[in-house]
């Protein structure tokens, strides 16, 4: 009895209030998005807002359930949850119902659930359990392999389900790893990789390769403090490139600029390595590796972009980067979504007055594009409130994670932070044209049972773990 009371008091009520606020606002906005005069009662259960209310009630029951279960269950059965999630993902992949081109739904009676939603908290638990081991060293090959396995297994199955968006969520867990020991340079390299990816799509291969080469030279000059050697080397490589270019043109053969740059780089590397060997400059080894990896990355991104990505994915990326502008075709969703949010202005059009959402100009307005209703009807003020709530929630969760005595709770907490952060940024980002359209929901807001329940469980497990940190 004593324990129970203290645990009630131990719950982080701030987090719970933010959660309730977000869920309630989500419900109001779903009502506005689906609103029609014919079904004006918010309790009309034939409509999505009626259904969402049922999902919310179930979610609250689930939350209560999660809070009542002994905290040890989450630690002890972490791998079991993970295994169960993987099994469900495979079942959905093999026997699932296809919705919007993704094999991600499991039909249970008349209702359907998306295992991918639940796999998120299971994976977070599994990562937490794995890294919880005393003296766990994240930079050891064995550790990296284990972490990689846990992350990539669900991500790959979800990719196979053709649900790219949900798969990408797992990349966000790099924040957890960073917190648990990944060095800064890996994070920086991660950022560089992202920049390279964007550059490859916008510019030609040759240009990006030259950029990579230039960056390597810059690092050499800065960290090696060898400006003179760097300049000589750069000049030599440039001359090789130009000579190659003209000699090939002179002989009448044609060779793409990419290959010429590539050949120039390839000729240069052995020379640099020999130089490094005799002069004993270790930095050159690292930079050579850096150059080779980035070159390989550049070429493979280009290959993947043109040969592996589906046309609609290419188009969405092109649209985002402003390469192609097609507001009637691929860009339609984002364009309409931007119109909805942009037309909201400072104060918004008022509740239930959003013409873009009410009259269905914005597709998927109650699920992935629910933020449009916020932007259109509540304006910049409303958007600011919602984003601020999410921001406060995330910062609060980081604070809670940091006060944990057990690594397991802390790691899980960062998992929760990473997953929610990724969803919120990507979801809102895609509605305002900052991110390609990948269909992932806005946590606690978007219509749908699976998503709401999964996020509820994800969050409340952490609240439960936190509540008993002292006990």
């Amino acid at each position: 009895m004593q324990t129970r009371n203290s645990s009630w008091r131990g719950f982080d009520w701030i987090t719970i209030f933010i959660y309730l606020a977000l869920v309630f606002m989500g419900w109001l906005n779903i009502y506005a998005a689906v609103y029609s005069d014919a079904h004006s009662s918010i309790l009309d259960f034939t409509q999505r807002y009626g259904m969402q209310l049922i999902w919310i009630v179930f979610a609250l029951i689930l939350a209560l359930f999660v809070l009542l279960i002994d905290r040890r269950v989450y630690f002890v059965f972490a791998y079991l949850f993970y295994a169960l999630a993987i099994v469900l993902l495979i079942v959905a992949l093999l026997f699932g119902k296809v919705v919007n081109g993704a094999h991600s739904w499991l039909q249970i009676g008349s209702a359907g659930i998306q295992p991918a939603e639940f796999a998120k908290f299971a994976t977070a638990l599994a990562i937490a359990k794995l890294t919880n081991v005393y003296n766990f060293k994240i930079l050891q090959p064995k550790s990296l392999l284990q972490i990689g396995f846990i992350l990539f297994l669900p991500a790959i199955i979800i990719l196979l389900q053709n649900d790219t968006g949900s798969a990408m969520v797992y990349a966000a867990l790099i924040l957890v790893l960073y917190r648990e020991g990944l060095p800064n340079w890996i994070m920086l390299y991660f950022v560089l990789i992202v920049i390279l990816f964007i550059l490859v799509i916008i510019f030609s291969n040759a240009t990006v390769l030259i950029f990579v080469f230039g960056l390597t030279m810059l690092l050499f000059a800065i960290f090696g403090n060898r400006l003179k050697e760097m300049l000589i080397y750069t000049l030599a490589s440039t001359i090789i490139g130009i000579v190659l270019y003209y000699s090939i043109r002179y002989t009448g053969y044609s060779l793409s600029t990419t290959y010429i740059v590539l050949i120039a780089i390839t000729i240069g590397i052995p020379v640099a390595l020999i130089y490094a060997f005799f002069r004993r400059i270790r930095l050159i080894y690292y930079l050579s590796l850096f150059l080779i990896m980035n070159t390989a990355f550049t070429l493979s991104v280009d290959y993947i972009y043109h040969n592996v990505l589906a046309t609609h994915q290419q188009k969405r990326i092109n649209d985002l980067l402003g390469i192609e502008d097609d507001t009637q075709g691929w860009g339609y969703n984002v364009n309409q979504s931007k119109i909805a949010i942009g037309s909201g202005g400072f104060f918004g059009k008022g509740y239930l007055q959003g013409t873009q959402t009410k009259y269905n100009f914005v597709p998927e307005q109650s699920t992935d594009f629910i933020f449009c209703t916020v932007g259109e009807e509540w304006g910049f003020i409303g958007s600011l409130v919602v984003i601020s709530l999410f921001l406060i929630l995330l910062l609060r969760l980081i604070m809670i994670a940091e006060r944990q005595r057990e690594a397991f709770s802390r790691i899980y907490g960062y998992g929760v932070v990473s997953i929610i952060f990724f969803h919120v940024f990507v979801n809102i980002g895609m509605t305002i044209g900052l991110f390609p359209v990948i269909g992932i929901p806005l946590p606690f807001f978007s219509y749908g049972g699976s998503s709401l329940w999964a996020f509820t469980i994800l969050l409340f497990i952490f609240i439960k773990l936190d509540s008993s940190r002292l006990g």
Binding site: L175, Y178, R179, Q336, K338, I339, A340, I341, G342, S343, G344, G345, F346, T355, Q356, K358, Y359, N360, F361, G375, E376, G379, F380, S383, L384, I387, F390, L391, L394, L395, I398, E402, Y414, V417, F421, F425, I428, G429, I432, G433, L434
Partner: protein, 615 residues
């Protein structure tokens, strides 16, 4: 140490999250507050401005007969995105068009500026009520298609095409110049339809609706607060007498030329015929462009409104003007007599026909003596007080222009020409400065030479004489219903520079020409109970046979009609123009024709071959 690194990371991660969220907020700020275009885009999405077209004003003649009215027509519209598979042959059958045209229609709509698959585009214009009746029953079989009612002009009498003009769809140029018009609107393109466009068109209304993404109307915007109702166009009453107009067109059938009849007391145009004419129905609706091209390519130029735009020499009718100017300048008196022995003997000379000699002023007009007016004309130009030919000529020109020659009379129809009255400068250039004198330009004395007058100006001359010295600007419209009278410029008397007393001598001469017995040039124009005054003319034409000209007014003492008739290549004024004018006067004043033989002769006269021969 270990602890420090991890707490640092806590801040780094919080910082990363914060930066990302600030990026979101900045982007939202740009989108919602800085950028304004999205509000417009949202309105464009949801608001449909559905224009309410008012019925165009009707046009009546002076007796209240309807001459232009509206007839229902329907535009078949299509919303591309709502079209589902349908039986094209069936639709083509209903519309009475070849099935290929259906397929073609879908290609065509995309070419229209502002095309959107979500909005209705015009698929087929102006379907007749008959076809519409069938289509309406079966429209449900063709989702995505809808019908918008429009109106087309219709003409019960099929007369006065030139005068009434026609209506057509606005083009890009008009839209860019005048924001009132939008794609698909109609506008008067010529004739009365053009000059009274503002009165006739009324004011378009608009209903603003909100539509969803499927273009389904969800309700009116702000409960119709910003809607406006259409205001019906104003009806117009013309001075035209439809019966007279129709009769004139019949008389001019198979002839080239023009009749203009004016009521002298008001300046109202009673009839305005330009022959060959065309059926105004040809320039209505879908076939307008095709028919217009056909009419335009016709060698007889039926589109050309000769009444306002053809420049003819006035011929002998102009002797009246010279006589009046001479009297005003005091160089000729009613009693002045000149002998004529077959022509004016000085210089190259001007021939004359056989008539008694010498003649008084009145007789000279009655018998149209060339010699007499050569003397008169030279006396004006060479009048000693002017001191020079140039001054004399300028004075003459001033008088002539006061009759409305060489300038626009300001009729309420588009494309009126000003005509030509030569100037001193013109002759200075044509000859050289000082290289010409009254003898050089002697042709002007008998209405030949460098003069160009429109039939309207000649009818106006008849009106001036009928009024003994003034005219009102000729105008077609008598009343625009619902307004206070017509343009004040049409109720303003324009006096000539000639004292009204001198007109009586001219009137006498014109009376004698018609009713004076022996020597009168226009005896054929006489009517039993009505005193017609007239003057013939034979306008020399460098391109072929002379034009037959006649101007007249009647009755002499209380003129109700003034008229000018031009029949191209028809020879003497007395042969064709005078009888036609006479019949017109008779028709207008008595509403019947007592001379069926003459009428028959005129109806059956075919003078088009003369036109063909001249080439």
């Amino acid at each position: 140490m270990q602890l420090n690194i991890t707490t640092d990371k806590k801040y780094i991660i919080s910082g990363i999250i914060l930066i990302f969220f600030i990026v979101l907020i900045i982007k939202l700020f740009m989108l919602q507050i800085v950028e304004q275009s999205y509000k417009l885009s949202a309105s464009n999405n949801v608001l449909r401005y559905i224009p309410q077209y008012p019925a165009r004003g009707l046009i009546y003649d002076r007796k209240g007969n309807l001459i232009v009215y509206n007839q229902a027509a329907y535009d078949l519209m299509v919303v591309k995105n709502q079209v589902k598979a349908f039986d094209t042959t069936e639709l083509a059958k209903i519309l009475e068009i070849p099935p290929e045209q259906i397929k073609d229609g879908f290609i065509q709509i995309k070419k229209v500026k502002g095309y959107s698959p979500y909005k209705p585009s015009i698929f087929i214009k102006q379907i007749s009520s008959k076809i519409y009746a069938v289509l309406q029953e079966k429209l449900y079989q063709f989702p995505g298609f809808e019908v918008h009612p429009r109106t087309l002009r219709s003409y019960p009498h099929k007369i006065a095409g030139h005068l009434l003009g026609y209506v057509g769809e606005v083009d890009d140029e008009i839209i860019s110049k005048n924001p009132y018009y939008q794609l698909g609107d109609y506008i008067g393109i010529n004739g009365l339809e053009k000059s009274y466009e503002k009165e006739l068109r009324g004011v378009k209304g608009v209903s603003i609706y909100m539509v969803d993404v499927h273009n389904r109307i969800k309700g009116s915007y702000e409960n119709g607060l910003y809607d406006s109702t259409a205001v019906v166009g104003k009806d117009i009453i013309c001075g035209i007498d439809a019966n007279l107009q129709e009769y004139g067109e019949k008389l001019m059938a198979n002839k080239i030329g023009s009749i203009v009849a004016i009521e002298p007391k008001t300046g109202e145009v009673l009839a305005m015929v330009s022959s060959p004419s065309y059926d105004p129905e040809l320039l209505v609706g879908r076939d307008r462009t095709t028919n217009y091209r056909l009419l335009q390519n016709d060698t007889l130029k039926p589109i050309f409104n000769r009444a306002l735009m053809a420049l003819y020499p006035p011929g002998s009718t102009f002797k009246i003007v010279n006589g009046l100017v001479g009297m005003q300048e005091g160089v000729v008196y009613p009693t002045t007599r000149y002998g004529c022995a077959g022509g004016y003997p000085i210089g190259r000379g001007v021939g004359c026909h056989n008539h008694p000699s010498p003649l008084s002023f009145t007789q000279a007009i009655q018998m149209s003596c060339n010699t007499y007016f050569c003397y008169v004309f030279r006396s004006i130009i060479d009048k000693p007080i002017f001191g020079s030919v140039e001054n004399g000529f300028s004075d003459w020109k001033k008088h002539v222009e006061s009759f409305g020659f060489g300038k626009k009379l300001g009729i309420d129809l588009p494309n009126e020409l000003r005509g030509i009255v030569p100037s001193v400068n013109f002759y200075d250039r044509y000859f050289r400065k000082g290289g010409w004198n009254s003898l050089t330009i002697i042709s002007l004395s008998i209405g030949q030479g460098e003069l160009g007058t429109t039939p309207l100006q000649m009818a106006n001359l008849a009106a001036v004489i009928a009024n003994r010295g003034y005219y009102y600007s000729p105008h077609v419209v008598k009343e625009v219903k619902g307004t206070d009278g017509i343009d004040p410029k049409f109720t303003e008397k324009h006096y000539t520079t000639i004292d009204s007393t001198y007109f009586n001598y001219v009137v006498e001469g014109m009376d004698m020409a018609v009713n004076g017995g022996f020597g009168g040039t226009a005896l054929i124009a006489a009517l039993p109970k009505i005193r017609v005054c007239g003057k013939t003319g034979t306008a020399q034409n460098p391109h072929g046979a002379d034009h037959s000209v006649f101007i007249a007014f009647a009755p002499k003492d209380d003129p109700k009609i003034a008229i000018a008739v031009y029949v191209e290549n028809a020879g003497f004024g007395a042969t064709w123009a005078a009888p036609i004018a006479s019949l017109m006067i008779e028709k207008y004043l008595t509403d019947s024709i007592a001379r069926p033989d003459l009428e028959k002769l005129m109806f059956e006269g075919k003078l088009l071959d003369r036109h063909a021969n001249k080439k």
